[in-house]
């Protein structure tokens, strides 16, 4: 092998100018002596590069070679699902849970959006507006019915004897209220859910006049005279259970305090009353004097009328109505009218 290479390097110029074509022919014609010829070729080309070929200076930047335009392959896509759906399919299985709108699944020709000039409103394909809005495709009437059926086995019948509000109030006079809050956040905690409200009608508590008066003084504006309802709101503890217990405690304490009569409560004078009480008043004494003078008892209806008129006059103040009522009641008692 070595002598062959040496011989090749010593080849004449004529041999070196072997045309490309001839060399190719040589390659083709004698595949059996490939090694021999390739060695010749390398040596020859090296010599040519050294002697004659110069690198050309390219001015004006490299010429941009036009590349053949890339052919976009079509992505194989399935036909929209609604075309494969039977008309009597079970929609609850197609759309079982809340999900953004998908035009290929929903077999409805819905459109949404403000139409551009001279165009129809945007259709469902590629319509982001339809994907934004919440939909109720998972809560169709048959699905709701099915869910209600499934939930029925967890329900118990309404307790007998609690049919109307009166009965409920009689058996369960105290109402406790608390709120739970659901946010779109990973936390289920809300500080507002600790607040507990207790409501009870005063008529369902066993109170006498003194106890009722005392309770009202204790609770202040937590009592609503229009509905006869006492409302206790507890929010001072961090947990709703603690607040609930505190509400119960408050109600118990209030009730027991109201029933108590402290020694100093007897010091209350007639003038300390917040409202005028006719019983035991000078007015009642005067009526008795009149009755004694007349020699016959005053009719019960007239006494009641007079009592109400006097109380109203004191409690609501003097105006034309109360004065007229009082005048009428007095004249009736005196037997003038």
């Amino acid at each position: 092998m070595i002598p062959v290479v040496e011989a090749a390097s010593k080849m004449s110029l004529k041999c070196r100018l072997f045309s490309e074509f001839a060399r190719q022919q040589l390659f083709r014609s004698s595949p059996a002596c490939g090694l021999h010829i390739s060695a010749t070729y390398y040596a020859e080309s090296k010599a040519v590069a050294e002697d004659e070929e110069f690198r050309t200076l390219e001015l004006g930047g490299r010429k941009i070679q036009r590349r053949a335009q890339r052919i976009q392959r079509e992505m194989p896509t399935l036909p929209p699902r609604y075309k494969r759906q039977a008309t009597d399919q079970d929609w609850g299985n197609v759309w079982p849970a809340p999900r953004s709108f998908h035009p290929a699944t929903v077999p409805l020709a819905v459109r949404q959006g403000y139409p551009a000039k001279g165009q129809a409103p945007p259709d469902k394909w590629g319509n982001a507006e339809l994907m934004k809005i919440p939909n109720f495709l998972h809560l169709t009437p048959p699905v709701i019915e099915r869910q209600c059926e499934a939930l029925k086995k967890f329900c118990t019948p309404w307790p007998a004897g609690l049919e109307n509000t009166e009965k409920q109030e009689k058996h369960f006079p105290v109402t406790m209220t608390k709120s739970s809050y659901l946010h779109s956040s990973p936390s289920i905690r809300d500080p507002k859910s600790r607040i507990v409200t207790l409501k009870v009608h005063l008529r369902s508590l066993d109170l006498d006049t003194h106890a009722r008066d005392k309770l009202l003084r204790l609770v202040g504006d937590r009592y609503d005279p229009a509905t006869d309802c006492l409302t206790l709101v507890a929010d001072r503890c961090p947990l709703s259970q603690q607040n609930r217990d505190y509400c119960h405690y408050l109600l118990t304490v209030l009730y027991n305090e109201a029933l108590k009569t402290e020694p100093w409560e007897h010091e209350k004078e007639v003038t300390d009353n917040e409202r005028y009480v006719w019983q035991g008043s000078p007015s009642e004494a005067a009526l008795k004097v009149i009755a004694a003078a007349k020699g016959e008892p005053v009719p019960e209806a007239d006494v009641e009328k007079y009592r109400d008129a006097v109380a109203e006059l004191h409690n609501e103040g003097e105006d034309e109505t109360t004065l007229a009522k009082y005048r009428e009641a007095v004249m009736k008692i005196a037997g003038i009218a």
Binding site: T77, P122, M131, H183, S184, S185, K192
Partner: protein
């Protein structure tokens, strides 16, 4: 025009002005003010002369049309009364948008819609069919997995695909 033309200027002021000018001590102090540029530019696109700028429905409607012609891209309860985690939610939404746009590179042709329900985050949007379906399925799972790991709550991707970018174009301006 002499100063005497301004009849309403008090005499004292005129004297002061004359004095200053005469002595060459005209005051150089003063607050330089320019009129406020009441220019509103966000969410508005320039009209081209040949009407060649494509706009999606979202782009074609200005921000003032939100709740009238278009709805919000983010749905959650933070802005309600006593809503919770408002700053956290905003930052998470920015992150989700950046992540989605980067992961689905040059594929989204709509805005990224983020809807939150309880602890669930549902991300919706319209994507071009430029990559193979298999790659899309991979990206869906990849995004769901990573986002739910980072945000510590279940994340669902609800992607709709369109064959061409042009199918979401609403009008040209």
């Amino acid at each position: 025009m002499s100063l005497s033309h301004f009849k309403h200027i008090p005499k004292a002021w005129t004297n002061q002005w004359l004095l200053r000018n005469a002595v060459g001590l005209q005051s150089t102090c003063g607050l330089h003010t320019t009129p406020a540029a009441c220019k509103v530019q966000s969410g508005r696109y320039k009209v081209t002369t040949d009407r060649s700028r494509p706009l999606t429905y979202e782009m074609a409607n200005q921000p003032c049309q939100i709740a009238h012609r278009k709805s919000w891209n983010t749905w959650n309860t933070t802005s309600l009364l006593d809503g919770q985690r408002e700053p956290e939610t905003v930052v998470e939404d920015i992150f989700i948008r950046k992540f989605m746009n980067g992961t689905w590179h040059d594929l989204f042709v709509s805005e990224v819609i983020i809807k939150r329900q309880h602890n669930m985050i549902r991300i919706a949007g319209i994507v071009q069919q430029r990559i193979a379906a298999r790659k899309m399925y991979f990206l869906i799972g990849y995004c769901e997995e990573l986002l739910s790991y980072w945000l510590k709550c279940p994340v669902k991707l609800e992607i709709q695909t369109v064959t061409d970018k042009k199918s979401v174009i609403y009008k040209y301006i």
